[in-house]
């Protein structure tokens, strides 16, 4: 297992979370774009689940994912066998770099110069576009949000809605500048312009690259959920289709897909079903009129098998990438997706990224949460995100001798000073007599209480010490 994935030459410094978050907090446009988008997504999700027994459905979703993960090695073997029988070539990549090389080699073998891409977060994880560009292969995003983000030279700020940080005006200016469209707030006009340009690329692209939502082991089927039809075009028009996905995306049967799909679309965008649901079961057969000549699947590990080694962290791999945790996160809503500096932002990013980039690089991610639990409450597969955040906080300071840390880069956040403060705190609070003496003395000396208390009082007044502690008052009462 390599320690970190991707091509570090143009990596954003994840450690600089604080300054980016601070800048976002003070950017009214970012605040407004995210607040209104997240409010909309939350109410759509709520409406979509109306009349459903959501808790039972979530329980089912969690069990489907748990059962799949419990048999992951066997399911992956079965998947490979079935896919191979169906004529889909299977490749295994230990990390993002290897996955990129596999895609490149497939392209080179076909002398491909242009790649059209459907939406794929794993390809973002791999930084595939950047890599292909270095190799002289043009890669164009065809999902509208991804297309906008690519035009802007940015990364997605949300895993489902990559350009959610931009409003119509910003998109209009961007498209005007980069593609010569008229300055217009007419969304239909802008969409039609993008479609016009993409249509030509679809027809001429040598290779289509897509992600996968569910890989069905029993039948060897790759399921792809999308709304724009670009996924269908990407996987059927070019003569070669390469799907990339994480090894955790496999499920045992098609029946399992139905529960997960019902949860996925409702949780993500509040849709009962997406406009397109593609089931890819192989290259074009002799009697078929369309479809690619070649279909490949690249199964990417990139840290996942190390997550798999730990019974608690394993829950991270249940994720079906709906983004509901982001939509409901009060922190994500305030700082937006780019503040995190990671492929996956928001709550799922905070528990997943430390495994992909190391807990040294991602040391600030687990602490950037009030542990409010909104993410865990809406997660369609019941990932206990707050518990995993606490686990990673423990890992980042090596805070539990009984359960030694094991995530790559653990202990990076431990400072001797902070450790000493907590030791002193624990000593006082584990000694009742000392505690009563200390708190009693503090209330007696409350006139001397400073009115400023660091970061707390930048925004609030300091809480005021009572004249007598509850301990003292209860003692007086009993006398």
């Amino acid at each position: 297992m390599s320690e970190t994935a991707g091509h570090t030459d143009h990596h954003i410094d994840v450690k600089q979370f604080h300054p980016r978050a601070q800048a976002a907090i003070h950017n009214p446009k970012i605040r407004k774009n995210f607040r209104s988008a997240m409010d909309g997504l939350m109410s759509k999700r709520k409406a979509a689940f109306e009349g459903w027994d959501l808790e039972t459905l979530r329980e089912l979703g969690a069990n489907v994912r748990l059962r799949a993960l419990a048999n992951l090695p066997d399911l992956l073997e079965q998947l490979e066998k079935k896919l191979t029988e169906n004529g889909i070539k299977v490749h295994w990549a230990v990390d993002g770099d290897e996955a990129c090389r596999i895609v490149r080699d497939i392209c080179k073998a076909r002398d491909a110069r242009t790649v059209i891409k459907g939406k794929s977060m794993v390809s973002e994880e791999m930084e595939l576009n950047h890599y292909l560009q270095e190799q002289g292969i043009e890669a164009l995003e065809s999902d509208l949000g991804e297309y906008i983000v690519q035009l802007a030279g940015e990364t997605p700020s949300h895993i489902i809605m990559p350009a959610i940080h931009k409003n119509t005006g910003e998109i209009s200016e961007l498209m005007h500048e980069k593609t010569g469209t008229d300055l217009s707030h007419d969304v239909e006009y802008l969409t039609a312009s993008a479609r016009q340009q993409l249509r030509e690329k679809f027809m001429s692209a040598d290779v289509g690259v897509s992600g996968v939502n569910f890989a069905v082991a029993e039948t060897g089927t790759l399921c792809l959920v999308e709304n724009e039809g670009n996924g269908r075009m990407t996987t059927t028009v070019p003569p070669c289709h390469i799907a990339v996905t994480g090894i955790e995306k496999v499920v045992p049967t098609m029946e399992d897909v139905s529960a997960l799909l019902a949860l996925l679309t409702r949780s993500a965008t509040g849709q009962h079903i997406t406009t397109y649901f593609n089931m890819i079961s192989g290259p074009r057969k002799a009697d078929e009129l369309d479809g690619p000549e070649e279909v490949h699947l690249v199964l990417v590990d990139n840290g996942r098998s190390s997550i798999y080694q730990d019974d608690e962290l394993l829950d991270t791999l249940r994720c079906i990438r709906c983004g509901a945790c982001m939509n409901h996160c009060p922190v994500y809503t305030r700082v937006g997706g780019h503040a995190y500096g990671t492929t996956y932002p928001g709550p799922i990013g905070k528990i997943l990224m430390p495994h992909l980039i190391g807990l040294d690089e991602g040391r600030h991610l687990p602490s950037a949460s009030s542990l409010c639990g909104a993410c865990g409450e809406v997660c369609p597969v019941k990932i206990p995100i707050p518990d995993l955040l606490v686990r990673l906080r423990q890992e980042s300071v090596d805070g539990d001798k009984l359960h030694p840390a094991r995530v790559n880069g653990h202990g990076a956040k431990r400072s001797p000073m902070e450790a000493m403060v907590w030791k002193g705190w624990a000593w006082m609070h584990a000694s009742p007599g000392l505690y009563r003496f200390g708190t009693g003395a503090a209330t007696k000396l409350r006139a001397l209480q400073p009115s400023s208390a660091g970061a707390w009082t930048n925004y609030r007044t300091a809480p005021k010490l009572a004249a007598k502690t509850l301990h003292q008052r209860m003692k007086e009462r009993s006398q």
Partner: protein, 259 residues
């Protein structure tokens, strides 16, 4: 994986009162109000003088060894088989939900699970175990309610506060926008990420002020010192108190004991 179903005990003769460190030092009136309400229900309140803190600040900061040593000092405080009531969803959640994890694979595992199983958030206990009936003796007023995230999501008591307030005939409960959104306290989060926390509490205060009420009540003193502290510093016209203080003040008989 299924959240344990809450099985309320029969109304007991006695309870252990776990005051929490914030109530102890900053909001003892809220603790006394809780004790008064319980006693009025005919319950004898046992207050172990050796209680300190549940250990949560260290736990959520990742210092589990330190959290365990503090939590361990609480485990022996409740030798009788009485319920343990806590005037906080947050500390209650720590004890009920996280103690079993914290003491997993330790000699104290069984004791920790026993304690955890007896912990109740106090308003939940008053409503669903004591079946309290509140007689409102106060003037007509309006109030907003902020249920803490841990009271809502760890202790599952989101409906309790509004039901209790609903018993008060002269109290008009108004609802702020996004009532379920975090106020931004989050313990050490507020000082580790002050700007984000500040942005959250500022929107929470705006939401409360926009209801038109001048006061709010809450289940947790962490949220209280965050929200009320922000309002005070920024001169926003809203004040807060613990829901127990409010309930006691509205229903205490004038002839009753001074608190």
């Amino acid at each position: 994986m299924v959240d344990p179903i809450k099985v309320y005990p029969a109304k007991p003769a006695k309870v252990y009162f776990y005051g929490t460190c914030l109530v102890d030092m900053f909001y003892p009136d809220a603790g006394i109000a809780g004790v008064e309400l319980l006693e009025r229900e005919g319950i004898e309140v046992l207050f172990p003088q050796n209680q300190t803190c549940c250990g949560q600040p260290a736990y959520t900061s990742g210092y589990h060894d330190e959290a365990r040593s503090v939590a361990r000092a609480q485990l022996d405080l409740f030798p009788g088989d009485w319920p343990i009531v806590v005037p906080s969803g947050s500390c209650g959640g720590m004890m009920r939900k996280h103690y079993p994890d914290l003491f997993r694979d330790t000699p104290e595992a069984a004791k920790a699970s026993d304690v955890a199983g007896r912990v109740w958030e106090l308003t939940d206990f008053l409503l669903n175990v004591c079946h309290i009936k509140l007689e409102d003796l106060g003037e007509p007023t309006t109030v907003a309610m902020h249920t803490s995230c841990s009271a809502r999501r760890e202790m599952g008591v989101a409906e309790v506060g509004p039901k209790l307030l609903g018993q008060l005939k002269n109290v008009n409960l108004v609802e702020q926008v996004r009532p379920e959104e975090c106020c931004g306290f989050g313990g050490t989060f507020a000082v580790r990420h002050p700007e984000i926390s500040g942005a959250m509490v500022s929107e929470k205060v705006d939401a409360l002020v926009d209801t038109g009420t001048r006061q709010f009540v809450t289940t947790d003193c962490g949220c209280l010192m965050n929200i009320a502290g922000y309002a005070e510093k920024n001169q926003k016209p809203v004040e807060g108190q613990h829901i127990l203080s409010f309930l006691w003040a509205r229903t205490r008989n004038k002839g009753g004991q001074p608190s």
